[in-house]
C-alpha cells in the first residue's frame, strides 16, 4: 500500500514559468516531509524539507507547501530553469524510532523546455 503518492509521472513546463509538483500521503503520523531531486545516473540530492508544524518553507526558487488536513504537499519552483529538469521524489517520515526511515513516492519527471 503506497503511503506516499506522486500521481503525476511527468510534467513539462516552459523555462521561466512555475513548476508545481504534487504529493499526497495517507498516514497522519507523518510529521516531516522532504523533497529530493535526482539526475540520471546520480544519487538523489536533498532539496527542501518541511515540518508538520509549518505550512510553508521557502529556499530561494523553491517553496514547499503543506496542507495537513488534505494530507497534501506541493513543491513550487519559480522561475523554472532547464537545469531543474530531473526526477523529483517526495518523502515522509515520523513513524517513530531513531532511524527516521523515509517513505518515498514514485517520483515525477520534470522537463523544463528552453
Amino acid at each position: 500500500d503506497q503511503q506516499v503518492k506522486q500521481n503525476s509521472p511527468s510534467l513539462s513546463v516552459q523555462e521561466g514559468r512555475i513548476s508545481i509538483l504534487n504529493c499526497d500521503y495517507t498516514n497522519s503520523m507523518f510529521d516531516y516531509f522532504l523533497w529530493y531531486k535526482k539526475y540520471p545516473a546520480e544519487g538523489p540530492t536533498f532539496l527542501i524539507s518541511i515540518s508538520s508544524i509549518k505550512d510553508k518553507n521557502e529556499d530561494g526558487r523553491f517553496t514547499v507547501f503543506l496542507n495537513k488536513s488534505a494530507k497534501h504537499l506541493s513543491l513550487h519552483i519559480v522561475p523554472s530553469q532547464p537545469g531543474d529538469s530531473a526526477v523529483y521524489f517526495c518523502a515522509a517520515t515520523g513513524l517513530g524510532g531513531a532511524t527516521n526511515k523515509l517513505i518515498f513516492g514514485t517520483g515525477t519527471l520534470l522537463a523544463v523546455q528552453p
Binding site: E42, G43, T45, K101, L102, T106
Partner: protein
C-alpha cells in the same frame, strides 16, 4: 559537506554470482540505508542499520543481506544474483539526533545481472 561514496558506479555480473556493494560515509552518521530504484517504483528500502553490527529489514529484503562492521561502512550482499536484481542501488546515511531527518545519498551503483 556530507560525503557518501559507493565502491562502483557500474557493475555487470552473471546469474548466481555473489555480489558485494560497498558504501562509506564520512560524517559519523549512526544510520545507514540501502535502497533500490526502479522505473515507476520509486526508492524501495532493502535494509538499514542504526548502529554497528545492527541491521533491520526494509520493505524488500529477500535475496539480500547486509554487513556493518564499522560505523562508516555498510555493505549490501547479493548472495546469488538473479536477473530481477538488475537495478540502481543507492546507499544513504543520516544522523539519529534531534530533528535532523535528512538522508544523504551516494552516487548509486547501476547493477546489470546477465
Amino acid at each position: 559537506d556530507v560525503k557518501v561514496t559507493q565502491s562502483s558506479r557500474y557493475l555487470v555480473k552473471r546469474t548466481g554470482e555473489k555480489v558485494f556493494l560497498e558504501c562509506v560515509q564520512d560524517m559519523d552518521h549512526e544510520n545507514m540505508f540501502w535502497y533500490r530504484q526502479d522505473p515507476g517504483l520509486g526508492l524501495r528500502l532493502i535494509y538499514f542499520s542504526y548502529d554497528v553490527k545492527m541491521k533491520e529489514k526494509g520493505d524488500i529484503p529477500e535475496g539480500y543481506s547486509v554487513s556493518r562492521e564499522k560505523k562508516e561502512r555498510f555493505s549490501l550482499i547479493l548472495e546469488s544474483a538473479s536477473t530481477n536484481q538488475t537495478s540502481m542501488y543507492l546507499c544513504a546515511s543520516s544522523l539519529s539526533a534531534g530533528g535532523l531527518k535528512t538522508q544523504y545519498f551516494g552516487p548509486g551503483t547501476r547493477l546489470l545481472v546477465l
